[in-house]
Amino acid sequence: MRKVYVDNAATTRVKEEVLKEMLPYFTEEYGNPSSLYEMGGRTKKAIEKARESVANALNAQPREIIFTSGGSESDNYAIRGVAESMKKKGKHIISTKFEHHAVLHTLEYLQKIGYEVTYLDVYEDGIIRIEDLKKAIRDDTILITIMFANNEIGTIQPIEEIGKIARERGIIFHTDAVQAVGHVKIDVEKMNIDILSMSAHKFHGPKGVGALYVRKGINLPNLIYGGGQERGKRAGTENVPGIVGLGKAIELAYENFDEKHDKILNLREKLIDGVLSTIPYTRLNGSREHRLANNTNFSIEYIEGESILLMLDINGITASSGSACTSGSLDPSHVLLSIGLPHEIAHGSLRMTLSDENTEEDIDYILKVLPEVVQKLRDMSPVYDKVKNNK
């Protein structure tokens, strides 16, 4: 049976080149980067090389990069760090309704301890309105934290405009760019981004490693006290193989970027057109235009998301759903509710996220299997009966 992996927003396959670069740092170059002997010096150098690669990819300076364990840690550190260091100036934060839970739950915690948060609407297209942002800004606003690209529906925010406003008003701008790094060209200078979160495993790097870009001049409190690693901000012996993998993965992600981007975009367009034209009662969630090249998110009415996923899995297709059931909670996706989908439709979503490793044949296979799966489930659905009978 054909195997098709289309859950690249959840995680990606580590590229062979990345793994090859990492391997020596387990068994040969295992020296502690803080040690004085030569082997320690070599691992230290490897870390600094990776730091340069990350900085280059963002048009940042190497000293502005802090390595972390991944996206959630980066988001937590950025938001709690700014909240703590800026509390004398104010306690108001602006964000959006459809951030990742690493951001939303951090903000909820801050609300419990006395901070105020304004959550901007994201409208049906999954994009904030700049006017709303301007209106939300107060004298005591200390942080704007808005995701670069959404993890479920892939919509891309007007980051450059947000950055410009934040800069004009002297407010720190953090963006959770976990889904964007490696998939969108990012320039922290041009976009006026002050703090940016990323995670290696979203662009064919290893799991358990990420980074936080923090603009020079912004002084976050230490995240972990201990040794002097990461300039004292995050103590603890570095995850050398992981950091090396992150550095290599980000280099590769931006190599031949346009070519890969166009290839993925063409596959995505073929998939979207195919699904919408062959399966009735479907819709694409979120803006088609301002969207990650690899993201599709469909609502397939009258059937439920988890059933679709299980049925696709049986047929070798690995996808995901914004549906409740997958996450172990019974609430439908907060992202889909935030763009105005009613509960009953939010239950039936299907996210398929591509990578440059997908092929035309993969898309053809999905477009053959998915309509059959949907039909089978609809034939079983009492809700679809009513729709058919009303016609």
Binding site: Y302, E304, G305, L310, L330, P332, H343, E344, M380, S381
Partner: protein, 141 residues
């Protein structure tokens, strides 16, 4: 996440469909929660001679519908009324905790169909089946 038994019933659900001349139909759940089960029964001489279902819901919802219909098919109404959600879970070799509500729904769907049967016969189902949860049409204070 699911037992082999659950997956097997999801892949090949038993008794899917409708019964045209059903004399007992029960529907439980709602779209907002993401699960709806509809059960059709053909009851003759107090025995469930045929049963079919249609379900909108997750893998567990389909599997519990399938298993519940298997468990009561051919049984008398009295036997069917003793079906518990626990029995459905056991027959499926277990369910993840967040999916236990699906088995409850399956039990309720069977009861709802039997309630419908009694109502069609002009018999008050409450003393036999118990509360059907439909507060609006309930005559019992």
């Amino acid at each position: 996440m699911y037992s082999d038994k659950v997956m097997e019933h999801f892949k090949n659900p038993r008794n899917v469909g409708e019964i045209e001349d059903a004399n007992a139909i029960g529907e439980v759940g709602n779209m907002k929660c993401g699960d709806i089960m509809k059960i059709y029964m053909k009851i003759e001489n107090d025995r469930i001679v045929d049963i079919k279902f249609k379900t909108f819901g997750c893998g567990a919802a389909v599997a519990t519908s399938s298993m519940a219909t298997e468990l009561v098919k051919g049984k008398t109404i009295q036997e069917a009324l003793t079906l518990t959600n626990k029995a459905v879970i056991e027959a499926l070799d277990g369910l993840p905790p967040v999916k236990v509500h699906c088995s409850v729904l399956a039990e309720e769907a069977i009861k709802a169909a039997i309630i419908d049967y009694y109502k069609r016969q002009g018999i008050d189902p409450t003393p036999i089946v118990g509360c059907d949860g439909d507060c609006h049409s309930c005559k019992h204070e």
